[in-house]
Symmetry: C2
Subunit: 196 residues, 2 copies
DNA sequence: TTGGCATGTTATCAGCGTAAACATAGTCGG
DNA sequence: CCGACTATGTTTACGCTGATAACATGCCAA
């Protein structure tokens, strides 16, 4: 028998008084619910119910609903970073890399609508102004900086960065909100030709 | 005494059983509440309370909460159209006109955050895909079409239109979500230099 | 072994959207 | 002028929600 088995003992967790790893289970269930509806339609009670635990058990792991949602956005940050990594792995040059990142950004948004919205929502990000410091955002900013040529002032770079982020973010939101049809080819076309 | 006085008889409407023009009052109060918080934080009961009417009176004028919100977006459509008209009145050439419209778009969003979000939210627009057919959107589309030169195919025009809308919409959302500081000069800079 | 602490539960509260039944009053045909 | 119809209000009630307080359980360390 191994001495360092730190995995949680499962054995039909539904019947045990203590769940074992309730926090993770709540996060996982929360993510699952975000796949079938917006964050506003996510109720703590439903999450608890689906995990098989009382409604108020959630409060042993999260001070309130916003805290659970914040935990979900952290997972979202990790996931979009994976999208970016995969996109960057193929394209290496500045322009191609940024285009790949842009596609990844929009596709992530379309693949995870509720989660993406949640990640961007100010209520859950604490209302603090400034770019999120997640790994994914840092990658995006890096790609944007690589993209802009060396002869620009730092202010010019900043404006370029904002322009690029705006196109990508705007396209993602417009598609998410059903104002523009979801169409992979369209994403490429909008992000490709670089004159606006 | 005039014979054709079709104005509502006011006289201390709080004490009369019938309100007189409850529907308008509800819409007005709804708009006021949107000035101090997001649409998700707007409750029918609170609106009714502030208007001085019972909670369920709302249902004589709107089948459900979404219907009231939809009425608010209609007012929003009229208001953004006014922004656009004012912007277009000054600048007439294609490029300047579009820049002016873009500034108006972003400024409207920043001046009416909750209302703007509501107007874009798919839940309230019935979930139908396609551009909203409000007067404001038609003006925006018109300006975008004017902007693109005559030598483009209609598909190219469409892509250009999407790109322009994406920058403007993206910048608005990023500022609204607190990811980019609210700064009038920044708006001009991002919308001005046309190479992305 | 035992006592404390982390982690569950039950009971309860106020607020929400909404439906059903009832009340009031303005309008229109006789 | 009067009575019924209809539009528009109210009261009551239901089930859902987020959240707090008090109580129960069981793991772990002294």
């Amino acid at each position: 028998m191994p001495t360092n088995d730190n995995s949680v003992n499962i054995q039909n967790s539904a019947e045990r008084y203590h769940h074992g790893d309730l926090r993770s289970a709540l996060v996982e269930e929360g993510l699952k619910r975000l796949e079938s509806g917006p964050a506003e339609a996510l109720s703590l009670r439903e999450v608890a119910r689906n995990v098989g635990v009382s409604a108020t058990a959630v409060y042993r792991h999260f001070p309130d609903k916003a805290a659970l949602l914040r935990a979900l956005t952290e997972v979202g940050g990790e996931r979009i970073a994976e999208y970016f990594k995969a996109a960057m792995a193929k394209e290496r040059t500045g322009k191609d890399a940024f285009n790949a990142m842009g596609r990844a950004y929009v596709r992530f948004a379309l693949a995870n609508p509720a989660l993406f919205r949640l990640m961007m929502s100010p209520a859950v990000r604490g209302g603090a102004t400034g770019e999120p410091d997640s790994q994914g955002m840092q990658m995006l900013v890096g790609a944007l900086n690589d993209l802009s040529g060396g002869k620009m002032s730092s202010e010019e770079k900043y404006i370029r960065r904002l322009q690029s982020w705006s196109v990508v973010h705007g396209l993602a939101m417009l598609m998410l909100d059903g104002l523009v049809p979801h169409d992979d080819k369209l994403i490429d076309q909008v992000l490709e030709s670089r004159i606006v």
